[in-house]
Amino acid sequence: MKSDTKKPVYLRRQRWEESSIWQKKVLLVEATGELTERCNFNCLHCYINQPARDQRIKQKELTTAEWLDFLREVVELGCLTVRFTGGEPLLREDFAELYTFSRRLGLKVGLSTNGSLITSRLARLWAKIPPLEKIEITLYGLDANSYEKITRVKGSWEAVQQGIAYLKENRIPFIIKGAMLPPIIERLKEFKRKAQQLASMDFPPAMVFALDLRARRDSPEKNQEIVNLRLSPQEYTRLMAQEEELYYQTMNEFCSKFLGPPGTKLFTCEAGREAVALDAYGQLQPCLLLRHPKTIYPWRTKRNLGQALKQLFPSLLQREATNPAYLARCARCFLAGLCEQCPARSWMEHGSLDTPIDYYCRVTHEQARSLGLIKDKEKGWMVKDWPERLKRWQQAMATKLKKKGIIE
């Protein structure tokens, strides 16, 4: 069997993240399961939540058996990770069953939750069968008063603290994710410090800056509430640059790699390539945000993930934008890499895939101005000599960063 004298390595131990299995050519690597749109909170800025007790919505949701079928199918395609999200995924009474089933199929499980429905029993299950990924808890305040102004549910702070206590008691690794919302912005440094301490994280919590409008385009009133909470472009830029050294270093690397006009192709991302999201009712989406009727696959009735991944989703990536405003602006804008504009967000804001989103355009231009990429009143699509400008900017930025001792 072996011929050399050195003892062979029969069994190789690898950490998941560093494992060679991610290099394998499989049709699907990561699946997201949006188990429900219902949530026990009513967060002011939420893009998807529906009332927790809405029986009509609950009855429309995929059954346990359907979710199990989906999980079996993703594993057959080589999938390695499933992420459960919502709404609040722990509202599903079958959550523990879906979780255990996923792990028994050999999937790594991610979970995004508000943490309020974590029970002692669930934490003990995670201690016994670890998810292999840190549980992500979204937290939108520093105390009951600030938190419940956002969640609009009395007692929600206490419930989340209890859930976190169960995680700590059982030594379940978790991270906290925040959002740039008024109660947090006022005490941002304190929030980051406390969140980092609470979850014993090596890094500050990730913060959501871009508040998306309602994903189902279901409520102009709720959209208005979200719009009211959005940061002004100036505030957005100021907060992004708050940790100055890290910001400029990141921006230097990012802009060098990703700036340039995206052209007429509608999708500049990898949506639907090796990753899919199944919504609560069985519609398969190329990404969690993209719910345009022409971009989804009716998995519940067709049950053929391979078909979506081989035919429908690749065909989307070939689509061209047709909206004249998009073609005149976004397609030619060298700042596109900095912008949150994408077909999913265009759908959320305007009901089409290629309409420029004014808010993100303003944010991007403000950011670019503050970085020195454009002059006052200049627009990204007007800059014809952008490669030369970017080169000069990179040189100036490198000098600045060297002077500050950030880079060598």
């Binding site: 069997m1 072996k2 131990r13 993240e17 299995i21 080589g78 670890p130």
Partner: protein, 102 residues
């Protein structure tokens, strides 16, 4: 120190792990805490390891597995025994296999 592995005993895969095959490669994924001695670890096998692993059905003794491999591969019994015992010791220590009763 003697080997942890008894040639007359039968071993089978632990029920606390999941075995997947992705693109022809066998991947061993610990299911419960304490298996594999590192929660976020997974394991892969080299071809020799795989040939042995596939025979761990809890029905054949280690000696029988060695004999099967001797019949199948062009290598000496000593070499094969060293391979089999070496891997089984590692799997046993990591709680990836269990000894069958009796």
């Amino acid at each position: 120190m003697g080997s942890l592995i008894n040639l007359g005993k039968k071993y089978s895969l632990s029920p606390n792990l999941v075995v997947r095959e992705i693109e022809g490669e066998v991947i061993i994924i610990p299911l419960t805490s304490g298996v594999g001695d590192m929660e976020e670890a997974l394991f892969t096998l080299n071809p020799t390891g795989l040939a042995i692993w596939q025979r761990l059905d809890g029905k054949k003794s280690v000696r029988e597995i060695i004999q099967e491999l001797v019949n199948e591969y062009d290598a000496s019994r000593e070499e094969i025994e060293e391979d089999v015992v070496g891997l089984l010791e590692e799997l046993y220590q990591r709680k990836l296999i269990v000894e069958e009763e009796g």
